[in-house]
């Protein structure tokens, strides 16, 4: 990491071919967090982008080694804070896999509904923030109007708006709110009416289209080689939806389409996320009237001990494939834990796809990668 004098030296120092090094971040409005990009420019053309990470590194993997299997779930809410619910689910699924616990059907269905609500909330925030990066201010307020309904549902059900911590191994922490179904239905109704507004405001906007079409093109081969996942890879035509490949919770009982675009540019990544929100609504609609009665949490011992061995759980977060790898020695704490975060791999492709484009296009490219910095730094 640079100290202050080095930053000044670097920004003023001209390279051998008249190249200029610009430090973007760690405090930059478009990085949405503390990401430091050292951008080498020749005129306005990007020659090289070098990410410097670690400004929000909290050593979550080392921390988890001294936390029990009930405690470590709550740390993961702070990783990808926009899909904290899905992170919690991944950890709970891993513990259930390691201990072979059966989860009640009711918990599975509620988890799936909440996961999809989280995905919509995350994509809503992304649309608002990305449009604002590209100079459109209004979509932010439109997107946050619907997102507010989801955060209110979360607040009623889980007691928190962002770091939900609602999932425990073998089920849910407590039962759903009595008005949960009514509120979710009200949200679905409003979302279906209002989603066309984004389409009118953003998708058909000629300025938005000309700023994103053909910008930051990622080929399918590179997407796979760089380990991209989620909407970034699907916009390049790579089928990688973990909900389809390795279904968990109630995803094997619902019908939905995996959205795949083939253009691979920033506009395709935008379209994938917009269409994914509609698919999430489709999943919720199938489940919301069919929440089974029964227990919301299975019976487990107070102290959880995983079997000896190695366990890996893959889930699909709003940003891509999250992997939790645990090496267990049979004790109450993990021996080694590793989080394969989707943002980390998606960031590594930034240098490759932004290389040769103009610095103004970097906003569109970086925005559509949907980077969440605590997820990358861990």
């Amino acid at each position: 990491m640079y100290n202050q004098t080095e930053i000044i030296k670097d920004t003023t120092e001209l390279g051998p071919e008249g190249e200029l090094v610009v430090n973007m971040g760690p405090q930059h409005p478009a990085t949405h967090g503390v990401l430091h990009l050292v951008v080498t420019l020749n005129g306005e053309t990007i020659k090289k982008i070098e990410p410097h990470l670690g400004y929000i590194h909290r050593s979550i993997e080392k921390m988890c080694e001294s936390l029990t299997y009930r405690q470590f779930i709550y740390v993961t809410s702070r990783m990808d804070y926009l899909s904290s619910h899905i992170n919690n689910t991944a950890c709970a699924l891993l513990v259930e896999k390691g201990m072979q616990i059966e989860v009640p059907e009711r918990a599975k269905v509620v988890r799936t509904i909440l996961n999809e609500l989280t995905r919509i909330a995350s994509h809503e925030l992304w649309i608002g923030a990305m449009a604002m990066d590209l100079g459109a201010f209004t979509p932010f307020f439109y997107a946050f109007r619907e997102r507010e309904m989801i955060t209110e549902i979360m607040e009623d059900t889980c007691g928190a708006r962002l770091t939900m911590n609602y999932i425990v191994p073998s089920g849910l922490m407590y039962d759903i709110h009595p008005e949960f179904q009514t509120k979710v239905k009200a949200f679905i109704k409003q979302f279906k009416e209002k989603v066309t507004e984004y389409e009118d405001l953003v998708t058909g906007n000629i300025i938005f289209q000309s700023r994103t079409k053909g910008v930051g093109v990622l080929t399918p081969e590179d997407a796979i080689s760089y380990g991209c996942s989620g909407p970034v890879a699907r916009a390049s035509g790579v089928s990688c939806d973990m909900r389809k490949i390795a279904p968990y919770d109630a995803y094997d009982k619902v019908e939905f389409d995996e959205i795949i675009e083939t253009a691979g540019d920033s506009f395709a990544r935008y379209m994938v996320r917009v269409k994914e929100m509609n698919q999430s609504i489709r999943i919720i609609e199938q489940l919301i009237d069919n929440i089974p009665e029964g227990d919301f949490v299975g019976k487990t011992k107070n102290v959880l001990k995983l079997n000896k061995g190695e366990f890996y759980q893959r889930v699909e977060t709003a940003r891509g494939e999250l992997g939790v790898y645990v090496v267990s020695e049979g004790g109450t704490t993990p021996y080694r834990i590793k989080f394969r975060s989707p943002g980390f791999s998606n960031l590594s492709v930034l240098d490759h796809i932004a290389n040769g484009s103009k610095i103004g296009d970097l906003m569109a490219t970086m925005g559509t990668l949907d980077l969440v910095i605590p997820d990358i730094d861990r």
Binding site: M1, L53, G54, H57, S59, E61, K62, M63, S66, L67, K97, D222, I224, S225, Y226, G227, S229, V238, S239, C240, I245, G309, E310, F311, Y312, R314, E321, G323, Y325, V327, Y335, R336, K338, R340, F344, S345, L347, S348, H352, D377
Partner: protein
């Protein structure tokens, strides 16, 4: 592709490979010397293991184990490659020319475990600071995710 076919294919490229089928996926332990040629073979036909979805390291106190989670976006048969390394002078061939995602993942393993990746184009710290923080004796190595690491300033043990 079944596990038996994968085993036969890997044994033909790395005869010393040992297999473990107790977990969810097939675990394969190979020597560090044969890793480079084996991974190149896995990337091509018929295995087409083009997706490296996780790369990490585990400290077993007397040796280090590199863990590679591989899959194919065509055949979807995840496997786990493992390589045991000497804990005092760990070094292994880089895989970033086979899978580009390995470049940043290997930089993380380098700073957290002290594993030297041979022929890596840019082996520097990624997340941690370049210089050792004050108050830490770096003469014996400064690798936070190893089991014997103690940080006197920022206690993370509960």
């Amino acid at each position: 592709m079944t596990n038996e076919e994968i085993k036969a294919y890997i044994s033909s490229h790395a005869p010393e490979a040992t297999f473990d089928e107790t977990g969810e996926w097939l675990n394969i332990t190979v020597d560090a010397n044969s890793l480079k040629s084996l991974t190149t073979a896995l990337l091509g036909q018929p295995m087409e293991m083009n997706y490296l979805f996780n790369l990490t390291c585990v400290d077993w106190k007397n040796h280090l184990t590199m863990v590679y989670h591989l899959s194919s976006t065509i055949h979807r048969h995840p496997i786990v490659l493992k390589v045991n390394l000497d804990r005092n002078t760990p070094s292994i061939e880089t895989l970033c020319f086979t899978w580009r995602t390995a470049e940043m993942l290997e930089r993380e393993v380098f700073e957290m475990f002290g594993v030297q990746f041979l022929n890596h184009p840019d082996l520097r710290n990624l997340i941690l600071e370049e210089e050792t923080p004050k108050g830490i004796d770096a003469s014996k190595g400064y690798w936070p995710l190893r089991k014997d690491f103690e940080d006197p300033i920022n206690m993370i043990k509960l």
